[in-house]
């Protein structure tokens, strides 16, 4: 039986800040007891696998690296309806596409959770490397706490 709420961390940890979503998910996975009845998935670059991971849930919280024209390290909460993708060009595709496309397909198939929240974190660098930039590394605990607060609010606790 799937948990009603799922947190999904996305990105490639070989590309420095690109992997911030994965780093947050890995931290959250160590928060035993805090996240009861919530599944945390470190999905890396799973792509279309996200469709299956979110199907049948009530709420999904994504954490991902996002170009938002913010200061590096800034975290912003948004929903798919709050943004337009700069990748959404004619002929867009899922294979090369982005999270927003997958969510749209999920919605059309009737599988999309009622509530979708995305936490975007502005990168400083997406160059090859396994380390986060200092601007993000120093705020990792804050990112984790923000996501935990999101879950607490959802649980009414």
């Amino acid at each position: 039986m799937k948990q009603a709420i799922v947190i999904i961390g996305l990105g490639n940890i070989l590309m420095s800040d690109e992997g911030i979503g994965v780093r947050v998910a890995q931290k959250l996975q160590t928060c035993e007891g805090v996240l009861q009845d919530v599944e945390v998935i470190e999905a890396g670059t799973a792509g279309m696998g996200i469709l299956h991971a979110i199907a049948g849930r009530q709420k999904v919280v994504f954490v991902d690296c996002a170009m938002m024209k913010e200061e590096p390290g800034m975290m912003r909460r948004f929903t798919p309806g709050d943004v337009i993708s700069n990748k959404s060009l004619p002929g867009r595709s899922l294979h090369e596409g982005d999270l927003l496309d997958i969510l749209e397909l999920s919605r059309q198939l009737g599988d999309c959770p009622f509530e979708v929240v995305i936490y975007g974190i502005e990168p400083r660098s997406t160059a090859p490397g396994e380390e986060l930039s200092p601007q993000l590394a120093s705020r990792l605990a804050d990112y984790v706490e923000t996501v935990l607060a999101e879950i607490r609010n959802a649980s009414g606790g």
Partner: protein
């Protein structure tokens, strides 16, 4: 997050001037992982320029593994690509095992192949259903297809989910597997889990048949284009190979051991591309499902053979668009072989084996068939098991030269058609190769409204 490749598609198809000039510039082919440009310029029916332009796939992963323990290599390379993470894992593990003379059990071999098939099924379903079907059904992506042909999309998604489930059960999660190590598995599936997978696999047969029927009903939309080509894949004497074997070619009966893969790939530099091309007996060769088919079709299992006959796909086919059909046939092949493997593992009794590795210095190569063709890894280790050198040769790189040769042969045949049709045919040709041009960065790129 972005799932491979550059996000931007810019099509600037030029106007036909005095009905004499054709100019097609597709910057970053959509529905392909990674970016690549198509350029065609023709005047009065004469092709002045036709090029498949791609940058060299990043080689920084090779630098990244240098100085790392053999124990870390799989974890790192599994992150190179979200779609081929199992394949990269096994190419690396097999290379490490070759370098350190590590033997694995039949059980390990069988469960690895099963996991590998999960990725094949997932990737083929994705490619045929999400990338090729929109072309054949006149849509520009799978999103409108979900409205116009929901049953097709749902069939594809069920097959994709099955592949995904196999990877979760055997690899420990849906991608970037965590259970596979040099020497074996850290966590083995239970008999109950295998039986559940078996049931799911049996239940998938109608979906595979449906997918085949859908593609068959649209097969007349696959362009007719043939060019004699050398096909290269792993070969085994009695099996359709995805995981074991030597390197075979349709141009020769000679096979090469995997440890000599550099003498097959023969990477070379060409002025028109920053990506290296590959050649063995000709200027280029093709890898992928059609290559495997052309070398292994005699060993198809019954359902796969039946589907192949429905399509009338003959061994020796040299129409690259039929790579899509070969992928459909392979969906059946991996499903059928998975059932055999599960039976074999269960009937032998699942043994609680743990990886047993004695670290030693050495150099070794490994090869497995990625969904999009043969993948080679080579590593060198010192006596402490620290990596001192690496060479990764991905299938997409091996195909670049062949795409160009196809362009050169095909463009003159279609140059009298409408400009948009020419563009689509060339895009479809690239997509038929199912390329994966290193998906290295994956971020969202958004504007707030």
């Amino acid at each position: 997050m972005r799932f491979g490749g550059e996000p931007y598609l810019v099509i600037t198809a030029g106007e036909e001037v005095m009905t004499k000039t054709v100019e097609v510039n597709v910057h970053h082919v959509t529905r392909v992982e990674g970016h690549g440009n198509i350029t065609l310029r023709a005047s009065d029916g004469n092709i002045e320029k036709v090029e498949w332009q791609v940058p060299e796939a990043p080689r920084f992963f090779e630098a990244m593994v240098r100085g790392r323990s053999y124990e870390d290599i799989q974890t790192i390379v599994s992150r190179i690509c979200g779609i081929c993470s199992v394949t990269h894992s096994f190419a690396a593990i097999k290379a490490i095992e070759a370098a350190m003379d590590i033997k694995v059990s039949k059980q390990t071999d069988n469960i690895r192949m099963l996991l590998h098939y999960g990725e094949q099924l997932e990737s083929h379903a994705l490619h045929v259903g999400y990338l090729v079907a929109p072309d054949l059904l006149g849509q520009n992506s799978v999103i409108p297809l979900a409205k116009s042909h929901p049953d097709v999309v749902k069939t594809v998604i069920r097959l994709h989910r099955l592949g995904n489930t196999i990877m979760e059960v055997l690899g420990g999660r849906m991608t970037h597997p965590v259970t596979v190590k040099p020497g074996g598995f850290t966590v083995l599936p239970t008999e109950a889990q295998l039986l559940e997978l078996k049931q799911m696999m049996e239940d998938s047969v109608p979906d595979i048949t449906t997918l085949a029927d859908v593609v068959l009903s649209l097969a007349d939309k696959l362009p007719v284009f043939e060019r004699e080509t050398e096909y290269i894949a792993l070969v085994e004497p009695k099996h359709y190979s995805f995981y074991h074997g030597d390197i075979g070619s349709t141009d020769t009966d000679e096979v090469k051991p995997v440890n000599e893969f550099e003498s097959v790939v023969n990477e070379y530099v060409t002025p028109q591309s920053t990506a290296k091309w590959a050649k063995w007996h000709r200027d280029s060769y093709m890898v992928g499902a059609l290559a495997r088919y052309n070398l292994g079709a005699d060993h198809l299992l019954p359902l796969a053979g039946k589907i192949a006959r429905k399509f009338g796909l003959k061994k020796g086919c040299c129409n690259p668009y039929m790579n899509n059909v070969a992928q459909v046939i392979e969906c059946a092949q991996v499903a059928e072989h998975s059932l055999q493997l599960i039976d074999e593992v269960i009937s032998a009794g699942i043994k609680d084996e743990k990886p047993d590795v004695k670290v030693q210095a050495g150099n070794g190569a490994g090869a497995v068939e990625a969904p999009r063709g043969i993948l080679f890894h080579r590593y060198e280790f010192d006596e402490k098991g620290i990596c001192t050198g690496a060479n990764l040769c991905i299938p997409t790189n091996q195909n670049h030269g062949n795409i160009q040769k196809d362009f050169e042969a095909f463009a003159p045949q279609i140059i009298d058609r409408e400009q948009n049709e020419i563009r689509l045919l060339l895009e479809m040709l690239v997509r038929a190769y199912d390329p994966c041009i290193s998906c290295s960065t994956h971020y969202l790129d958004v504007e707030f409204i």
